[in-house]
């Protein structure tokens, strides 16, 4: 380690000396010969012209090498229905832009090589040509027309409404993990409101019971209004002015929230309880059934995250204060995918966070497993007694 550092240091020092020497020699030389910096010698012109040609070879060669080494796109094949359309569109676009890239670069670098200054040859005075300019307005315009039409057709398709049978699943995001919520037997997701969040109701689902618990917690819980008010009166507890203010602010905030919770309670129809009770909450691994359409909705507790499933060609931001959605149909099971693409045995589909969300952003992930119908049903029945109600509010009827 020491040796390599020493070598690096020596190289840098020698490099600096080398540059300084070149400058010095050049300066002396130009003083002797009267050469001016702005007069570029024919030798230097030629040298750079040749380097342009060499650069073209390196550029094209490097690109082709990368394509061979890392694949046409480097991304595995799609694992969802609409993904195949997107892959097709991507390939088409790549072909078009690669043609443009190679052609224009060829002309750019070839002209740079060919039309280097030659003694006695004057440049060709060619200020404009309406015909040429029309041609190269028209060609890109027509290519773009194709790209736009195809792109929008597929975009409309991908973002259209899902069918009524689509399975409803919600992804809930927070710093720094994901939670999935399956809609259960009724295929209806229970309602939610962030004010209902409690330790045993992390997803803030709305039922008569959870509203009451939230109100109770807000009023008399360990950080509730009553507790805080008691604290405020206790002279031993509150010492500084700032602390006092802080507690007062908290009471203020909580009183507002509690008022809103009471409003919610008055408006709430207990018939909706069932929608939430049968929901299944699932952490760590998201199980999906092959060839079933999913209507996925997204929610965030704190900052913006982004649900990014590269294998399914799905990406949607999760935004606090609003619900977003994406529909897709996985069309290959994890097992088949591994076999088909020669992936390692422990391969998994991924869900990553793709919107900067804090220090551990890069660790925010969930494993996704696509099962065939039988396996999926088996897994679902294993969860039959692990609904929201079973897990969190087993006591209530």
């Amino acid at each position: 380690m020491m040796v390599s550092k020493l070598i690096i240091l020596v190289v840098i020092v020698l490099g600096a000396i080398l540059i300084a020497q070149i400058m010095k020699i050049q300066r002396t030389l130009s003083e002797i010969t009267g050469r001016k910096e702005e007069e570029i010698s024919q030798k230097n012109n030629r040298l750079n012209a040749n380097l342009m040609l060499l650069f073209m070879i390196v550029l094209f060669g490097g690109f082709i090498y990368l394509m061979q080494e890392y694949g046409w796109t480097g991304r595995g094949s799609s694992a969802s229905k609409h993904g195949h359309d997107l892959d097709w569109l991507l390939n088409l676009n790549l072909i078009i832009i690669l043609i443009v890239f190679f052609l224009t670069h060829f002309f750019l670098l070839y002209f740079s090589f060919k039309y280097v200054k030659k003694p006695g040859v004057k440049a060709y005075f060619f200020p404009h040509s309406s015909k040429l300019e029309m041609i190269w307005t028209f060609i890109p315009a027509s290519a773009l027309a194709v790209i736009i039409i195809l792109g929008l057709t597929i975009w409309n398709d991908v973002t259209s409404e899902s069918s009524a049978e689509a399975i409803r699943v919600e992804l809930f995001s927070k710093q720094f993990d994901w939670t999935a919520r399956y809609s259960g037997k009724d295929n209806k997701l229970g309602k939610f409101d962030y004010k209902l969040t409690l330790d045993n109701n992390q997803l803030a689902l709305m039922t008569t019971n959870t509203i009451d618990s939230a109100i109770q917690n807000m009023e008399t819980g360990p950080q509730g209004i009553k507790t805080l008010e008691a604290k405020l009166k206790d002279k031993n507890f509150v010492t500084s002015k700032e602390e006092k203010q802080k507690i007062k602010d908290a009471i203020d905030r909580k009183s507002r929230l509690v008022r809103l919770l009471y409003q919610m309670k008055n408006r709430y129809d207990s018939k909706m309880d069932v929608m939430a009770w049968d929901d299944i909450i699932q952490k760590d691994t998201l199980y999906l059934c092959v060839n079933k359409e999913y209507e996925m909705t997204f929610r965030s507790k704190d900052v913006i995250h982004s649900a990014y499933f590269p294998d399914f060609r799905v990406q949607m931001n999760t935004v606090p204060g609003m619900t977003t959605r994406f529909k897709f149909t996985p069309d290959i099971t994890t097992k088949e995918f591994i076999k088909k693409n020669n992936k390692p045995k422990d391969f998994n589909f991924s869900l990553m966070c793709n919107k900067i969300c804090g220090g551990a952003h890069y660790k925010m992930k969930m494993i996704v497993v696509v099962l065939d119908e039988k396996e999926y049903n088996d897994w679902m029945s294993s969860k039959a007694n692990a609904t929201f109600k079973d897990k969190y509010f087993a006591k209530t009827n």
Binding site: E38, V58, K117
Partner: protein
């Protein structure tokens, strides 16, 4: 040194050290001040990028380089902290986009070239111009200082999306660091507006006799349009920043709704984080062209001079800049296809965005045609212009994929985006800036830069740049998200992909270090030449535009005696009706010669 120089129309002040070098009203001095400040911010931003590139290539390994720059607090034991990784990325982006390529590029060359090329004694308001620079200086200072505060600089990416940037509980940089970021940006915007208004007024009012709009060099057209874009879009960013500041400090809910952070339930309700994104990108997208168009202007001028050919399609060049400028205002939401925005709105933005490809293509083809049958003289500036056209093509074509909402689902926020905008905006603008420095150095400092070192600088930079950004496209299109501290998460999903990402990241970092070392050559050449470079002649490149009719020694008022009169467009190179291969704009038309 109180010398009055032939100044019958121009008021001259006593020149003390302070009025000449510090609070100068003179556009040439202000231009140099901008350039020096830009170099400081640019070098800082480059060092930051090397720091986080080291982490990406060798994640978790101890590095002396990191502990040297970041110390025990941010790199304990030489390993970068997660939060600081994001801080480095954020400040790298902010410094590069706003301070080097907006303030630095426009500030340097608009200031230097607008008065000189239109034949004016100075900017319309020397005082506002000075104020603009010093506000820029102040904002740069605040931004650089924010790197040193205890909770770290802003860490929510250069786009500082709330709620992450609004809530100090969500990341340490969203405390004091974010406040400084917002204050710095507010001052920066004030500086930018003062500068832009000045450029616009100067171009409209102070053109010398005979300098009609269609005889302006394309540089001036570019600066003019850029200033207009800036004046129309920066105020929106200012309002976005002020609203964010209010959300942070006064408890308003413009961008916040239904949030629980750090165990605390906030009462904010009804705001929308998406609103911020709309406001931000309403500036953010035109900003791309604020960065790019000046570089394209510089390249039009340099390419014509050094191919000894008129720029091909002058009117089409002006038209395409206008078209790009107009379109740049109606494309912003293409940054937001996956935010949950109404898909129909998305389709509208797909359409407008892809339209920009047309004027851009016209520009590229016109550059290439200008090279055709030219007589190319390879100054370092010429090389950088060819580099610019190359990166403009390479980065431009990938934009077609990103503009397509359907494909954006796949590559949004991946390294493909990073590669795309670094090539099309970063490289092109930086290449244009380098070309400008090499080309106008004799005008700025009265001396020449060393050509050989210029060649070395260019080729190292070009190879380094492509070595960095080509592989990045492959990582991105394979799906690797940006702003990841490391890619260990792939270990749970696909170890093959993990191997590929790490492989390529090592290559990228090595090229980044090579490219950074290449810049040392430039810095050496630049500072050495200011003091010891060969003395410049009045018109070293045999160019037509007016700046080369001023004396080499700088003077207030630019021209001794009368202002020059203009008789022709600036691109009469190799005009067959003339013996010489260049005809300055001040040469009257010959008998029977038709003006362009």
């Amino acid at each position: 040194m109180a010398e009055v120089i032939n100044g019958e129309t121009h008021g001259h002040q006593e020149e003390s050290f302070v009025s000449k070098y510090i609070f100068s009203y003179d556009h040439k001095m202000i231009s140099k001040q901008y350039l020096m400040t830009a170099i400081v911010t640019g070098v800082t931003a480059m060092i930051l990028s090397i720091l986080f590139r080291i982490q990406l290539a060798w994640p978790g390994e101890s590095s002396d380089f990191l502990s040297l720059f970041l110390g025990e607090q941010w790199a304990p034991g030489g390993v970068l902290k997660e939060d600081m990784y994001l801080g480095l990325v954020t400040i790298h982006g902010t410094l590069m986009v706003f301070f080097l390529l907006t303030g630095g590029l426009s500030g340097t060359f608009s200031n230097l070239l607008i008065p000189l090329q239109i034949g004016a004694r100075d900017m319309a308001s020397g005082f506002l111009n000075m104020l603009s620079y010093w506000l820029f200086f102040l904002s740069s200072l605040i931004m650089l200082v924010s790197l040193f505060i205890e909770t770290g600089p802003a860490m929510s990416g250069w786009t500082v999306y709330p709620p992450l940037s609004a809530l100090p509980q969500s990341i340490s940089g969203s405390g004091m660091g974010m406040t400084l970021w917002l204050v710095s940006m507010a001052i920066f915007i004030a500086s930018s507006l003062l500068g832009s208004l000045n450029y616009i007024v100067t171009v409209i009012n102070l053109r010398t006799q005979g300098m009609s709009m269609m005889r302006l060099p394309l540089t001036v057209w570019a600066f003019f349009i850029t200033a207009i874009i800036g004046v129309l879009s920066f105020p929106v960013l200012l309002s976005a920043a002020l609203l964010l500041l209010m959300d942070r400090m006064l408890g308003t809910s413009f961008y916040l709704s239904d949030i629980i952070i750090g165990g605390e339930m906030l009462t904010n309700h009804g705001g929308s984080p998406i609103l911020y994104q709309h406001l931000f990108w309403f500036l953010g997208h035109p900003e791309v062209y604020i960065v790019l168009i000046p570089a394209l202007g510089l390249s039009s001028e340099i390419i014509a001079t050094n191919t000894r050919k008129p720029i091909f399609g002058y009117k089409a060049m002006v038209g395409s800049i206008l078209a790009i400028a107009f379109l740049s205002f109606i494309v912003w939401a293409h940054h937001m296809f996956v935010t949950g925005m109404n898909p129909f709105l998305g389709s509208v933005f797909v359409f407008t965005t892809l339209l920009i490809a047309i004027p851009s293509a016209v520009k590229v083809f016109n550059y290439i045609t200008t090279l055709w049958k030219g007589s190319i003289i390879y100054t370092p500036a010429t090389l950088f212009i060819i580099g610019l056209v190359s990166s403009f093509i390479s980065g431009g074509v990938t934009g077609i994929i990103l503009a397509d909402a359907a494909l954006d689902i796949m590559v949004h926020d991946t390294y493909f985006v990073v590669a795309h905008f670094h090539v099309v905006m970063g490289l092109s603008a930086v290449f244009g800036m380098f070309a400008g420095v090499y080309h106008w150095f004799p005008k700025m400092f009265g001396r020449m830069m060393n050509t050989t070192l210029g060649y070395i600088h260019f080729w190292v930079t070009l190879i380094g740049a492509y070595g960095v950004f080509f592989p990045m496209h492959f990582i991105g299109i394979a799906g690797a998200p940006r702003r990841y501290y490391d890619y260990s998460v792939y270990g749970d999903f696909d170890v093959d992909q993990y191997a590929m990402i790490v492989d390529l990241n090592v290559i990228i970092t090595i090229f980044a270090i090579i490219a950074a070392l290449g810049q040392v050559v430039f810095l050496y050449n630049f500072f050495y030449s200011i003091f010891y470079g060969q003395r410049a002649t009045q018109n070293p490149w045999k160019a037509n535009s007016l700046e080369w009719t001023t004396p080499v020694e700088h003077m207030h008022g630019n021209w001794p005696g009368e202002l020059p009169t203009v008789y022709r467009w600036p691109y009469d190179y190799s005009n067959p009706e003339h013996e010489e291969d260049f005809v300055p704009q001040t040469v009257p038309l010959k008998e029977g010669e038709t003006a362009h």
